[in-house]
Symmetry: C2
Subunit: 145 residues, 2 copies
């Protein structure tokens, strides 16, 4: 039940993109430098976020990545499920439906509740919320040329 680096990195990368939203595209290299993440690894994470439609890209010089939608329209849940996937791999192997005397079914209800609780947190927050937390001290700086 540990949170993967994939998701931790990806969330921070998305926050970087959100902080720069509306400006010029951000390059992998910039994000990787700022967040101290391996260049090539981040590239793959962003590819996942791109194929799930959260990020757009521009190729060539002065290209880079940007959010596909404004930060307030991107739920943290969107990012999380893209990178982390579901918590439980499969259904109860023995029963398609709930069976009262199956311990697997009984415990599975708990795991479902937990999944629901996690999603509850992630659905109530957007990237904008993170930007608001991080933003003010960043606005003074200027990362452009």
């Amino acid at each position: 039940m540990k949170l993967s680096s994939r998701t931790r990195y990806g969330m921070r990368a998305m926050l970087e993109l959100a902080l720069e939203y509306g400006k010029k595209p951000l390059q992998i290299k910039s994000i990787a430098d700022r967040e101290d993440i391996s260049n090539k690894y981040l590239e793959q994470l962003i590819a996942m976020l791109k194929s799930s439609g959260l990020v757009r890209s521009v190729r060539g010089p002065r290209g880079g990545y940007m959010l596909a939608r404004p930060p307030q329209d991107i739920l943290l849940k969107d990012i999380f499920v893209t990178l982390e996937g579901p918590i439980l791999p499969v259904e109860c192997l023995q029963h398609a439906e709930y069976s009262p005397h199956c311990t697997d079914c009984a415990t599975r209800q708990i795991w479902d509740e937990i999944q629901g609780a996690i999603m509850g947190v992630l659905q109530s927050r957007t990237l904008k919320d993170l930007v608001d937390k991080t933003g003010q001290s960043r606005e003074s700086k200027n990362y452009q040329i």
Copy 2:
């Protein structure tokens, strides 16, 4: 963020012990057979639960394992943290305290909230709750000799 088999197995094993609470000790073999878990693997999981004080053991013939406390006194959280450990491995590497313009700090707040949400579910339930779900159809059967 996947739930490990360790925890899924362990939770079901604890439920088996809870279903038998007050009766004779349950052997590893019985639990493993009922839950279709590898004998030797389960042995190790129970060892963890024992060293965290949730389970007691009796050696020798007619020995086995039993809950150290009644099911209503064992929070699912107790079982979970024993087997699964914390969600986040370490603190923010850069700051001992919260720093507003650190993306790591901002996202970490979210992870903390998620951890809190999970614990909320697991602290509001005891093994007794699972027994009540599972119990009635089990009471008719007799697993003793």
